[in-house]
C-alpha cells in the first residue's frame, strides 16, 4: 500500500481526517514526520531542519485559516549532539516566532536515522476545509511556486548556503488567517500544485481549468531549471512549497488582495469536473511522500 492509499484508509477510519489539520472544538491540530533520507538533503543544517519541520506543521495550520498558537517537536538522532540540538531548537523557535506562535519544546529520542515529528496547534472558530469550492469561482496561490525544488537543486549543486536559505520557507499563517473569511476551500501546496488541485477537486466535487503561464514561479527556479518543461515540473509538481492554494468568488478578489500580506495570483477557474491546464489533463502526480492529515 503506498502512502496515498494508506491515507485514504486512515481517512475512512477517521472522519475528522482528510484535511490539512484536524478540527478539535475551536482548534486545529496537525502532525508531520520528516526524516533524513527523504526530507533533509545532505548539507541541510539542523537549524534549517528545525525551521522546516516545524514550519511544515505551521503551514498545515495556515491552510485551515487558523491562527497558529504553539508547536512541539520530537527529535530523534543517532547521537544527541548539544550544538546540533541547540541549532534545531533555534530554527524551531525562530519559525514559530516568525508567525507569532510559541515553540514549547518536545521529546528527545536516540534513533538510528535523524527523524523529526512536529505538531502544531492553532485557533479557528470556522476553519477552511478542502471541500467548499464551487464552479464559477477562481483558484489562486499565495507567493511563488518552486522554491523547494530550487532548494533541492541548490543542495545537489553543492550550493549549501542557498539550499538552506531556500529550504527555510515562510509559513503562510498571516495569509491563511486573512483568507479565512473569503476562501471557500484551501490547502497548502506541500504535495505540489497538481496534487493540490486534484485533492481540492475530489473534496469539493469540482474541477479546475488552469493556465500554465499564469503560475507564479519563484525567482530561484530559473537558476536551476533545464528549460520550460523542467521549470513547470519544479513549480507545479515537485511541491514541498507550503504556499496556500485556495478558491474564492472572483468578486472577493480585490478584498482578498487587500487583506493578504503576500502576493495572490489567480491561476485558473473552478469548473464542474476534471483538472486541466491549457485544455490538457493534469496528471495527479507529485511528491507522494505524505504530509497531510
Amino acid at each position: 500500500m503506498d502512502e496515498r492509499t494508506a491515507l485514504r484508509t486512515l481517512a475512512a477510519e477517521l472522519p475528522g481526517a482528510g484535511d490539512d489539520a484536524a478540527v478539535v472544538g475551536a482548534q486545529v491540530v496537525t502532525t508531520d514526520m520528516l526524516h533524513d533520507s527523504t526530507d533533509f538533503p545532505a548539507g541541510t543544517t539542523r537549524y534549517t531542519a528545525g525551521w522546516r519541520a516545524v514550519g511544515a506543521s505551521l503551514s498545515d495550520v495556515a491552510a485551515m485559516g487558523a491562527d497558529a498558537t504553539a508547536a512541539v517537536a520530537a527529535y530523534g538522532a543517532p547521537t544527541l549532539d548539544e550544538d546540533e540540538l541547540r541549532a534545531f531548537v533555534g530554527g524551531a523557535r525562530d519559525v514559530c516566532e516568525s508567525v507569532g506562535a510559541e515553540y514549547v519544546g518536545g521529546d528527545l529520542d536516540t534513533h538510528d536515522e535523524f527523524t523529526v515529528a512536529t505538531t502544531a496547534i492553532g485557533d479557528s472558530e470556522d476553519p477552511v476545509l478542502r471541500s467548499g469550492a464551487s464552479p464559477g469561482e477562481v483558484v489562486c496561490v499565495t507567493g511563488a511556486l518552486g522554491r523547494s525544488a530550487a532548494g533541492l537543486r541548490a543542495f545537489e549543486a553543492g550550493d549549501v548556503e542557498r539550499g538552506n536559505d531556500l529550504f527555510r520557507f515562510p509559513p503562510r499563517v498571516a495569509s491563511g488567517v486573512a483568507l479565512a473569511p473569503y476562501a471557500t476551500a484551501m490547502m497548502d501546496s506541500s504535495d505540489g500544485l497538481a496534487r493540490s488541485l486534484h485533492q481540492l477537486a475530489e473534496a469539493s466535487d469540482c474541477g479546475f481549468a488552469v493556465s500554465w503561464d499564469s503560475l507564479p514561479v519563484h525567482d530561484a527556479v530559473a537558476d536551476y531549471a533545464a528549460g520550460d518543461g523542467d521549470e513547470r515540473e519544479m513549480a507545479a509538481y515537485f511541491g514541498e512549497d507550503f504556499e496556500l492554494v485556495f478558491t474564492v468568488p472572483e468578486s472577493d478578489l480585490a478584498a482578498v488582495r487587500a487583506a493578504v500580506p503576500v502576493s495572490v495570483t489567480v491561476v485558473g477557474d473552478v469548473t464542474d469536473d476534471a483538472v486541466v491546464a491549457d485544455g490538457d489533463p493534469v496528471p495527479d502526480e507529485g511528491y507522494t511522500h505524505a504530509s497531510d492529515e
Copy 2:
C-alpha cells in the same frame, strides 16, 4: 551527550520545558517519540503499539492534572500495511476513548524502522507542576508499579498475549483531573519511581523518605520477578508504568482518596533534602530513554 543531559540543555533553552507537558494558555501539550528497537518488544501488536504510544502522551497530560481532549500520531513504518495501520488506529482511538479524548488522526511516513510520534493536548486552568512539593507533605502513587516491567518479561518469556495486555496500560487522566485541586507537585512514573522522586526533588527543592515495603506492586510482577531485589527493580526502577507520582498535605488524603477513581498509596514523606528509602540513598537511576518534555 546522553538523553538526560540533552533534556537539560533543551530545558535551559526553553523555559516552558521541564515538566511532563508544556503549558500554552489554558492548555497543555506534549509529544513523545517511540520506536521499534527500544519501545516495542517482538510480539507487540500494532493495536497495542497504538494504544501504548498515544497512551504515553495522554499520561503526560494526566500528570499535569489536565483533562485530555485530543491526540494525534505520526506513524512511520517500512511498509504501510493496511491491516497494521487499521490496528494501530484502533488502539490509538480506543485509548483516547477510554479517557474521554478524541483521536483525530495524524501523518504517515515510510521509514526504515517502525517509529511513532504522538502528541496529546488537554485543558487546564491551573496545571500541576513538578515544583510545588513542601517538606511535611506525603508522596503517593496511583495504582500499582511494575506493570510494564512484567509486560516486558512476559514478551521475553514468549507469553505474547499477556505482554500485550500488560502493555496496554490505563492512562490516569481521570485521576489527574481529580488530583489537580489537591496535588502540590505531580509527574508520571514513566522513567521509574526512583527517577520520578529525584526529578520532583530537584524541581521542588526538597527530598523524599520512602519505605520500600509501602510500594504498591502490580500483581503480575510476582509472576516474573526473581526474588525481592528483582521485584524492587521492576517496581521502582524500570518505569514505563505511567502511574501518577504526587505530593499532597496529609490532611487532604481522605479527600484525595474519595476523589480519585483508583487506589492511592502513600509511599513516603516529603523531606528537606536527599532521596532515601528505609534510610539508604536511592540512586537516581532508571529508564533513561527520554519521555518527558
